[in-house]
């Protein structure tokens, strides 16, 4: 069971949250090539180590926020609000 520190509500069990995949993905303009569009649509970071990802506190404030988590140890290194800069880790 992960214990996730929602930046709005505080630390709660994983069961209250929903996972939303990689964070900080930026949609390219409409004039990009097929390969750049495919990169945006399908290719996601899948690191063995620190992963910056989105979670939603579904059974709490219902707000999305960002989590920096290690995919090997599952340690959560930081949580921060949407729109904030990536943390230095």
């Amino acid at each position: 069971m992960l214990r996730i520190n929602c930046p709005h509500c505080g630390t709660r069990d994983e069961a209250e949250f929903r996972f939303g995949g990689e964070s900080h993905v930026i949609r390219p303009g409409p004039d990009v090539s097929d390969s750049e569009w495919a990169e945006y649509l399908f290719n996601r970071d899948n690191p063995m180590g620190i992963h910056l990802e989105r979670w939603c506190h579904s059974f709490g404030c219902s707000l999305w926020f960002n989590v920096a988590r290690d995919t090997v140890t599952h340690d959560i290194l930081a949580t921060y609000k949407m729109g904030e800069e990536k943390p230095e880790l």
Partner: protein, 414 residues
Amino acid sequence: MKGYSFWSLAKNAITGHQSWPQVWRTPDIKSSYDVVIIGAGGHGLATAYYLAKAHGITNVAVIERGYLGGGNSGRNTQVTRSNYFWPQSAAFFDRSLQLYEQLSKELNFNTMLSQRGVMNLACSHHELEGMRRWANAIQINGVDSEILSPADIKRIVPLINLDTRYPIHGGFIQWRGGISRHDAVVWGYARAADALGVDIIQQCEVTGFEIANGRVAGVRTSDGTVAAGKVCIAVAGHTSVLAYKAGFRVPISSQALQAMVSEPIKPCLDAMVMSPTIHAYVSQSDRGEIVFGGGTDVYNSYAQRGGLPLLEETVAALLEMFPAFSRLRLMRQWAGIVDITPDTTPIMGKTPVDNLFITGGWGTGGYKAIPAGGETMAYTIANDKPHSLIAEFDLERFESGALIDEGAASGVSH
């Protein structure tokens, strides 16, 4: 290779089973190979076997970081089936099932295939309508499937509870589906490949690639650099990690998929049963254990251990379907790291790097694909062009948009 037979068993029984030969060698790694395959799981070993057997390429190494068959090949729930919706998937997975049907003879190794039927349950009228469409598509693909009424289901698996919270309205079964012994499949391919001259190198980690002018020339390993004419990545959940090292990205997310077994009991569950709604699948192994699993843990993970919320959900789902199993003790629980693609179809074939091939994106369903995966990858590597069965499973489909979306069609564990 000394074949296993009644006579070899009798002969070795007389000598007290003291003179069985080693099943495969433990060779030192050479400095150069025609083909290096990374990963000694089912797919890597089957690819090596068919390279040697069907294409005469025997100067092959299969390099494994851990031990042979210690990844997803030894962690899956042993299900073999070909009940797929799309023609491309059905053709490939049914070829695999056909190879499984002959595999014990082919490898001279009992893979214990038991074609006891793979059943999918529908828990609403609408789900049953969807399953009728699915079962019809399977038949049009030339694969067997049969719609079942609740009474049929009760007859095949009498322990089932039909009055679940979302009552079971019916389902369908592929009778040719079933389970086999996953370790035997891996060991059988390893032994047969080794006998044809393939070097299986265990406890050796690939740390990088030698790439010059867009062409792979070898791999860097914990035992030194090995030159290779061609290289194939067959590492399941770690596909992204090796792709990064070769300089490209793949549309894969790695997640933990849990499975668990109960203590062994007398035979009580014949067919393999799956429910997409209640979200569990279950079979009874030949050792008597109830083997079951459910969904994947939702977040990316390389930890090879599952989380508790999903464990609880899966056990609850099993007990909803089979209340009698609440009396059983859970004996073991584990997880494998599965490599999931956006359309749940594997990624097989060439990569942006010349002479570097990939077989990955197997997600939660790689075990059933081992024989055909090996056969088609061997063809692809030997001829430097994709085998016709996997031509549409290439990495370029994400750019062209020609996805083969089995996610909706192929049930709980696709």
